[in-house]
Symmetry: C2
Subunit: 311 residues, 2 copies
């Protein structure tokens, strides 16, 4: 099927076509640029929410309840469960799929898990592109739930309008979050499993840390018990409040601009990489031989490659 | 201090200078290329071992015991505990440091944890460069222990001559490993905590999976109980066997060549990225404005950036 037909069908709500567009993003093939060009004019309406946090924090259950809350506001929602091709996250991903099946028959919810092995640009391109697919087909909200932890995870949350950081009481998550500069990416803190001992301590600890921050937006701290559906209204309110705050202060536009600049750089880098692989394949091999023989060092070899790339 | 003096001191065994060279790699600053050029002629002697696996598999204890075993063969060893800037791995890293302190007074062991936030080229450049520092200062073996899981982790193991994949009985790790294509990167399987129930089952399961693989090298499966120092001799034997096998079949050279080709591509990409940021800063902002206004799409904007980069 032609890409333009695929897009038309997807925009008419055909789920298989939406899924196929996301597969294009996963594979990162030649059709992707075409699809992204054609889709782009239809984008810009969805608001994206990232859900991140340590494994076992209950991100999937929380996403599940949040989706139900969003649906009750009669908004259409797309969910992306992103697996940064981690060797050990397969189980978690499988779990997500099973847990989210309560929404499987709701035409206002589209759920897709996504790996990114094929995409040369990696997650930093694949995540915003997949969000764009779900945006273009008419979703009001796109939730990106990340599986596993690591640098990739932070990259994904960069692609969101509001980032939720989910923590669990009694795990030391709060201290870890602070140490690792997670304060910079969290827009809303969720203390999930808040019926466990230590929940109040964690909230107090977070509040204390936030007092030391001089950021304008002070991330609210929401206590939830996702599996009992507790605190979900408060969480949704916090997201809406953050959205309004950003809109009123021109921050949403700033944020989206940063993201576009980053994305443009990534596309350029990917194109240049492709050019290196096709136009300089032989030189690359020859230089590798010289580097292995220790006739030259890697940085000098790279300089020669760069010189040969100039027309 | 000048880079050349730093290198001389590091090669004379001064630990603070070695640490400072690794800091250069972490920061990815201007001095890094100079240091890497000057260091390169002294490299090529160390053999590198990657230790990867799910969190909680006991990678640190295993590394600790393996280091002791390597020392008993009178080999000098450098250890890198790489933290892929994960928001949640700070605790694990701290744990490692504490556990490895048994070697702190041994001049034949150099241990360093390493983050890579600053390095533009990310882990795929930082890992081989840090190994090269430890190689150039005279280590016979470099062990790279990865903290946390994710795509980054797989990238790091790409930088090693032998990759150990550490699994724990009764966790379903084996199935996950198979699903995620971990069979492709494992050179030796370690079933650690082998005194737990389910160890034999896991070994059987792994063996069964390995029978289906048509790779020439069949990864041995070693059962260990790191905290009791059991199975460590067998593990070291397995590493040595893999090393010999690769040397006899010309595979080590092939592997190192692949790595160098990858690294050259990364250095070129990083240089081009820098050029884009310095030479096209204004165009980048202008194009972002047009993309946000939906006058053009990101791929078309990237094409214009590429065109302007040609001299």
């Amino acid at each position: 099927m032609k890409v333009e037909d695929l897009i038309e069908r997807a925009r008419n709500g055909e789920r298989r076509s939406i899924a196929r567009l996301i597969s294009l993003v996963e594979d990162g093939g030649a059709d992707l640029a075409v699809a992204m060009r054609d889709l782009y004019p239809f984008t810009g309406n969805a608001y994206s929410i990232g859900v991140t946090g340590a494994p076992g924090a209950g991100k999937s259950s929380l996403t599940d309840r949040l989706v139900a809350r969003i649906r009750s506001a009669d908004l259409e929602v797309g969910v992306l469960a992103i697996d940064p091709s981690s060797p050990f996250s397969g189980g978690a991903l499988l779990g997500d799929r099973v847990r989210m099946q309560g929404h499987a028959t709701d035409p206002g919810v589209f759920i897709r898990s996504m790996a990114t092995r094929g995409h040369l640009g990696g997650l930093s391109l694949a995540a915003p592109e997949a969000v764009r697919v779900l945006d273009a087909v008419g979703n009001d909200i796109v939730v990106i739930e990340t599986v596993g932890v690591g640098q990739a995870e932070v990259e994904i949350t960069d692609a969101c309008d509001t980032t939720l950081v989910v923590l669990t009481p009694g795990t030391g998550d709060a201290v870890q979050a602070a140490k690792a500069g997670l304060m910079e990416i969290a827009d809303v803190y969720v203390v999930n499993k808040a019926d466990r001992p230590g929940s109040k301590d964690m909230v107090r600890e977070l509040r204390h840390m936030l007092q030391m921050s001089d950021a304008e937006w002070k991330p609210p701290i929401v206590e939830t018990v996702a599996i009992k559906n507790e605190g979900i209204d408060e969480l949704w309110d916090a997201v809406e409040k953050h959205r309004s705050y950003q809109q009123e202060h021109g921050l949403l536009e700033q944020r989206r601009r940063r993201r576009i600049v980053h994305e443009l750089k990534e596309i350029v880098a990917e194109r240049q990489r492709l050019r290196l692989e096709t136009e300089c394949a032989q030189l690359l091999e020859d230089l590798a031989t010289q580097v292995i023989a220790r006739d030259i060092d890697p940085y000098t070899a790279a300089d020669r490659l760069l010189a040969s790339l100039q027309p």
